[in-house]
């Protein structure tokens, strides 16, 4: 059995009296697409922020490629290849596509100046790898549609050559067409071996591209299923009335069903 690229064990996180996470486990295999679902306040975003180091866990372990880690900020998790794409993309509208892809780490020439030719060339390469159509790397981001803006955010993320990308509600602000394109992009990333975690309320999207789906409820695991062997109905039931007992692992659930 291969080592999971990310493994989280018994994660506990409290905000004062609120217990956001009560011992959550998560594992992600290389090249896998995992859907993370659950009601509001189930702890999905908190779990991902613990993973990227935006929050510090109270207890539990986070292993990347089998090695224990203690990220103090998202910059440190970026160094080991974990990228997060925020719901509002976190782009600068006044700058162009190339400048946004290299936000904060613009290539330098003579150690002083921004190397524009190289920046645009690299940006173009990244966009080609993603197979998305953004007309020009010179376009201002604010003149792009929501879907294209997201493509830029994804291009930015993959320019770091990540092993894992976390999407926070990627389809929440997109049109149907743009959602279709995004799902294609995700499949393309999977072919390139990038593991992905998708936080989403839209089960349909996860069922289209995902390999596995994990359900959280009030800070606990209540289910883990392979997409191929489950249905939207079963997942909905888990979201609404799942308990610790229904949790199982995806493999256990498969055996029980058999």
């Amino acid at each position: 059995m291969t080592t999971p690229i990310v493994e989280m064990r018994g994660i506990v996180k409290s905000f004062g009296a609120v217990h956001a996470l009560k011992g959550v486990d998560l594992h992600l295999m290389p090249g896998e697409i995992l859907g993370l679902v659950g009601d509001n306040s189930a702890g999905k975003s908190t779990l991902m922020k613990v993973l990227t180091g935006a929050y510090h866990r109270d207890a539990g372990e986070v292993l990347v490629n089998g090695a224990p880690t203690h990220f103090r900020s998202p910059h440190e998790s970026r160094d080991v290849g974990i990228e997060m794409i925020y719901q509002d993309f976190a782009l600068c509208g006044n700058m162009d596509v190339g400048q946004n892809i290299f936000l904060g780490r613009w290539p330098k020439r003579y150690g002083l100046f921004v190397d524009r030719p190289r920046m645009y060339e690299e940006a173009r390469k990244v966009l080609d790898r993603l197979k998305v159509d953004v007309n020009s790397v010179f376009q201002k981001v604010e003149s792009l549609s929501g879907g294209r803006q997201q493509s830029v955010a994804i291009a930015r993320a993959i320019s770091f050559e990540p092993q894992v990308i976390v999407f926070d509600e990627p389809t929440a602000n997109l049109s149907v067409m743009a959602t279709e394109r995004l799902l294609e992009t995700m499949a393309e990333l999977k072919r390139q071996g990038v593991a992905q975690i998708i936080i989403s309320h839209r089960l349909t999207d996860i069922f289209e591209v995902g390999d596995r789906i994990m359900v959280l409820k009030r800070g606990e695991n209540v289910g883990d299923r392979y997409i191929r062997h489950t249905s939207e109905k079963e997942v909905l039931e888990l979201i609404v009335s799942g308990t610790r007992e229904t949790a199982l692992t995806a493999d256990e659930a498969l055996q029980q069903a058999a």
Partner: protein, 760 residues
């Protein structure tokens, strides 16, 4: 309020006043005021010991209190009205012109009515600019401040209007008199305003709408509140109150000078903030604001009255003790008021919300500190930029079209057009070497300030203090050479350091304490100018070493002093035409242009201004970028101050007055956005050139066809510059950012379509 001092757990729950009306904060204010008054009595018993002092303080409080009532509505709305002082002055002047027997000689009541109409008009204008045309409130009302001041100067011609004799026959002036019970009628007016204002804000629907709009405008909008109307209402109230304060002022003084209401906005805003309002809106009470007004007026009085001292003087070898008054020099008081404003703004986010006192107590007692309520301070969330102009390369334009796609194209074209206008008006004079030399000189000061400000504005911040920092740095240079006998080198160094220090304070307040940049630099605006006036004791200083003055001369004089002057020919002409400061500006501008346009720091500036959160996610230390930009802006202003003194060979406390307006207008005209994310050095320089050219065109002596000549009175200049700034900001927001013409066209087309289909 966290400072609730009501008795601990009363035995029976009894009805008490709602928190919006009065709370522990006001109790604290009262106690502080009593202490301060006692301090006043202690240091100056002759003045503060008398009952006259009490009534004088109350009388002055009345005017500022009335304005504070209106301002409370504005600040709770999350807006700011900087124009109240000039509105006061303008109404006082308009009343005097209408009423004064030397002018229009109307009755008192019609004149007062016109003044109220004027207040209403100014309020509506402010409101429309802010709520409908979406100009940031501090820019809109700051411009109104300068326009109003310009109008006051223009209308009075800087002269005093008095009508003591005529006023005796009119009942109107009883408002400014002491009544039979022994106190001034203005206090009655104030009480009426305070009570009505307090009840409206705390008890009525209009008041609740104000709190909702200030707390979360979007939520209020979704809930069906017409937030635009609420904000316009706030500005109208504030202007009306200022107009009434102006009428109270003329009723008392029966005359007017062009100085009326100068700096009143500072006292009023400080009063409202001291009274417990939050500069980021949603919090504030009228009662608190009124007490704040009393407190700030009291501080103002204590500062102005001075301390009686005995001074030993030497008369012909005999030492004599003379009673004297240690007073602040004129113009220095605002330094303290500015400090109070900043301190008051910081109290809410740092002391109250983060429970500083509670945590300090816990630490002293060695207990577990209580958790801070909310970390994050009072930073205003920036407006996301939206633009309709895309980069030329994005649309594949080349040549002229590529140039026209630049945001700074308009400024460059305008600059050329204005220069040609000058040539057309005065072909004999405009193109001459003399005029070009003078234009370049005038350009240097604005250009230097604009270069520094470009960084700040591209960052999404603002620096309102550049003109004052210029004055402070100039005053330091003058002080070091004149009073301390320092040599020019030390003077330049200390002046530069003094200005830079202002920038460090600005940056520290903005990035570390989380104040919005316009508040922090507004405080510095008053502090630096007050300090400048203090240093030179409100006088004009001159007579500096000629080696220092060379900074402000042309190249020829510098080379001549060094004994290597060019003898003749082209070199001589060039050396005479180019001055040292122009070369300095060129060097600074080229360096700044390279940093902003081609180096990673410049990219960081644009990223921070475009989306600060995104920039910090990608590892940019946005606080550092904003800090450095504010410091650089102050450094440019400091350099401009050093040059000012050298050029004029003297220092005047009015140095750099209104320059912040010129500089902001330059950057905006040159393609900068008031919301951040845009601005180039070339554009800002072109913008500065536009402002310089407009100024010199306005003061150009035009020779009419019949041989007579005409020149515009200088008093009206500020009105024009203010109008230009507003036009530039509006043009930026509506044409560059929102593509409003396109939107109107689309809407109009859609409506035409709808009508067409209806007709079928």
């Amino acid at each position: 309020m966290a400072l609730d001092v009501t008795a601990a757990s009363p035995p029976q729950p009894r009805p008490h006043l709602p928190a919006q009306l009065v709370a522990g904060w006001e109790a604290g204010l009262l106690a502080f005021m009593a202490l301060l008054y006692l301090a006043g009595v202690f240091i100056n018993p002759a003045f503060f010991g008398s009952t006259d002092a009490v009534s004088a303080v109350l009388r002055d409080t009345a005017r500022f209190g009335v304005m504070a009532v209106g301002m409370t509505f504005v600040i709770v709305n999350r807006d700011l009205d900087l124009s109240v002082g000039s509105t006061l002055g303008l109404t006082a002047v308009v009343f005097s012109i209408l009423f004064g027997p030397t002018h229009l000689d109307l009755g008192a009541w019609p004149a007062a009515l016109v003044c109220l109409g004027l207040g209403l008009g100014i309020g509506l204008l402010n409101g429309a600019l802010v709520a409908v045309l979406r100009v940031p409130p501090f820019i809109a009302t700051l411009t109104m401040l300068f326009i109003g001041r310009g109008l006051v100067l223009g209308l009075t011609g800087g002269k005093t209007i008095g009508y003591e004799a005529k006023a005796r026959d009119y009942v109107f002036f009883a408002f400014g008199e002491t009544n039979s019970i022994g106190f001034n009628n203005q206090i009655l007016v104030f009480l009426v305003f305070a009570v009505v204002g307090a009840v409206v804000l705390a008890k009525t629907r209009a008041g609740y709408e104000t709190y909702a709009t200030g707390g979360n405008e979007q939520a209020a909008q979704y809930a069906g509140i017409a937030t635009r109307g609420v904000r316009i209402r706030g500005f109208v109230l504030s202007s009306l109150c200022a107009a009434i304060a102006g009428l109270m002022n003329v009723a008392q003084d029966k005359g007017v000078t062009s100085q009326y209401g100068q700096g009143a906005e500072l006292i009023v805003i400080a009063a409202v903030i001291v009274g417990g309002a939050s500069i980021v809106g949603g919090r504030g009470r009228v009662v608190g604001a009124c007490m704040g007004a009393a407190l700030v007026v009291l501080i103002d009085k204590v500062l102005r009255e001075g301390v009686p001292i005995t001074r030993v003087i030497d008369v012909g070898g005999v030492k004599m003790e003379v009673a004297a008054l240690a007073q602040l020099p004129p113009g220095a008081v605002p330094a303290f008021l500015g400090l109070i404003l900043l301190a008051a703004v910081l109290i809410e986010p740092w002391v109250v919300r983060r429970n500083l006192l509670g945590r300090l107590k816990a630490r002293l007692l060695g207990q577990e500190p209580p958790p801070a309520l909310e970390v994050g301070g009072a930073a205003i969330v920036g407006v996301q930029t939206k633009g309709a102009v895309s980069e030329a390369r994005g649309v594949g334009a080349r040549g002229l079209r590529a140039f026209l796609h630049r945001r700074d194209a308009a400024a460059i074209l305008l600059m050329a057009a204005l220069w040609l206008t000058g040539l057309w008006l005065r072909p004999d004079f405009w193109g001459s070497l003399d005029n070009s030399f003078n234009l370049l000189l005038a350009f240097t000061e604005i250009g230097l300030l604009a270069v520094g400000l470009t960084f700040v504005i591209a960052n999404g911040d603002i620096d309102l203090s550049v003109g004052s920092v210029l004055a402070f740095s100039g005053a330091t240079a003058a002080f070091v050479m004149k009073e301390m006998g320092g040599d020019p080198g030390a003077a330049i160094l200390l002046a530069f350091l003094a200005g830079t220090l202002c920038g460090v304070v600005n940056g520290w307040l903005t990035t570390r304490l989380g104040l919005p940049a316009f508040v922090a630099t507004l405080g510095m605006f008053y502090i630096a100018r007050g300090l400048a006036a203090w240093l030179v004791a409100g006088r004009q200083l001159s007579g500096f070493p000629e080696s220092y003055n060379l900074i402000g001369r042309n190249l020829f004089e510098l080379l001549n002093a060094m004994g290597m002057a060019p003898a003749d020919g082209f070199a001589l002409a060039l050396a005479r035409a180019v001055s040292v400061q122009t070369i300095f500006l060129a060097v600074v501008a080229i360096a700044a242009g390279i940093v902003l346009g081609a180096m990673p720091f410049g990219q960081k500036v644009y990223a921070t201004g475009g989306n600060e959160r995104a920039a910090s996610y990608s590892g940019i230390d946005t606080a550092r970028v904003r800090f450095l930009s504010l410091v650089f802006s102050a450094m440019c202003a400091a350099a401009a101050g050093v040059i000012y003194v050298a050029y004029y060979r003297s220092f005047n406390p009015a140095a750099g007055l209104l320059r912040e307006l010129d500089a902001i207008a330059s950057v905006i005209i040159g393609g900068g956005s008031i919301f951040g994310g845009y601005g180039t050095i070339i554009g800002s320089l072109a913008g500065a050139a536009v402002i310089t050219l407009i100024r010199s065109l306005l003061s150009l002596q035009i020779i009419l066809p019949d041989g007579s000549s005409f020149v515009m009175p200088q008093h009206w200049m500020n009105v024009f510059i203010g109008l230009i700034l507003i036009a530039a900001v509006l043009g930026d927001i509506w044409f560059r950012q929102q593509d409003i013409l396109g939107e109107w066209r689309r809407r109009w087309q859609a409506r035409a379509q709808a009508k067409l289909s209806e007709a079928r």
